[in-house]
Symmetry: C2
Subunit: 192 residues, 2 copies
DNA sequence: TTCAGGTGAGACAAAGATGTCTCATTCGGT
DNA sequence: ACCGAATGAGACATCTTTGTCTCACCTGAA
């Protein structure tokens, strides 16, 4: 028996398919399974062999997004050092997952059903904890709630991903722009 | 012949239907015409009488969004006074159009077709001009491009609208949170 | 009351998407 | 070269959505 990196004999890269699907679906949420398959460069039948249907595809996207976001949180070591630097590290670490997040942030449909993935709650909790820590340490202002900062973080990651995808901003500036705006805002400041 | 406020004998409020549709579609982009009709409290047939199809509905949404956004730009008098205060006024004036913008920001599908509404270019131009003016006047930092500030503005309006709709933040805090984050960021500053 | 215009509900066919299947082909390992 | 596994293309039935139509009902104005 032969094995690839992921333990299966195969040619389609599940991860790559999901990334492509995320990019397409964030641009056109009503895209059909056929369009998703074509965008990923595979046949509709093959797509169906890997994901039972549209719902299963979105669920897989959700799962992958949560895993990558949690990996980013781990990699950024958000519990360490000043909160603002932790946010900077987190933005940078979130860049690979940005297209995924851009899609899922808008797919609020996921939060209607009965069994919503508990991963989102974990993510939110860790992110809120980070902003709360920053407030308690005096790094972040206290008149903006951690919940809102959390939302803004998601929103800016999504906006950044779209802006880069559309070529309105350079990919290299991704994390700088997001972190700077989130932390310092647009107004010119006397400090730093 | 009888006339209502809008010059037609009628009972359905076109504007209200569009607002409801925007709210629903921003939460569930794949909603059917029937779901949109139910959400608006009208029959599917009636919805069809007013909007020939899903495409026409989205186009009407787009047009309404552009009109309201331009009205907000006018009402905020963004050419007057300090740029940061102009942004504050603009955010406040944009609040009524927020659910509309939240939907259309994510409906990138609109920017694929051949005939995309030129209203977006007008909007972008005015917004970019505002941020550029702020930079030239020394109010805004120059290391964040006007194009990115423009994107971030849209993104934060959308995030704010969702956060309010989901009850994660109070509706009263809408414009304060957005304007403060966009202008000042999360980091505590020595000024002000 | 009368009446015209608007509406909701349902029926209906057409169009599109989905899920499943078969078969020829290609690719990687042996 | 061989062979098994996976793929792409296409056919197919089914389900959903869409667009259109009819008809009964309601409402406001005369």
């Amino acid at each position: 028996m032969s094995h690839s990196v992921y333990g299966r004999l195969m040619s389609v890269d599940r991860t790559q398919v999901l990334r492509t699907a995320a990019t397409l679906l964030s641009r056109k949420a009503t895209a059909t399974m056929d369009e998703v398959a074509r965008a990923a460069g595979i046949g509709r039948a093959t797509l169906h062999r890997h994901f039972a249907g549209r719902d299963a595809l979105v669920r897989a996207l959700e799962q992958m997004c949560i895993e990558e976001a949690e990996a980013a949180l781990d990699a950024a070591r958000i519990e360490e050092g000043p909160a603002d630097e932790a946010v900077r590290r987190l933005v940078a670490a979130s860049e690979p997952a940005a297209p995924l997040l851009a899609f899922l942030v808008t797919e609020n449909q996921l939060f209607e059903g009965d069994g919503q993935n508990e991963g989102w709650a974990r993510l939110d909790a860790r992110l809120v904890a980070l902003f709360r820590r920053g407030q308690e340490e005096g790094t972040f202002r206290i008149d903006l709630s951690p919940a809102w900062l959390c939302e803004a973080f998601y929103g800016l990651i999504g906006s950044g991903a779209w802006a880069v995808a559309d070529g309105r901003v350079a990919a290299n500036d991704f994390s700088y722009m997001i972190a700077e705006l989130l932390l310092g805002g647009a107004r010119r400041s006397v400090e730093k």
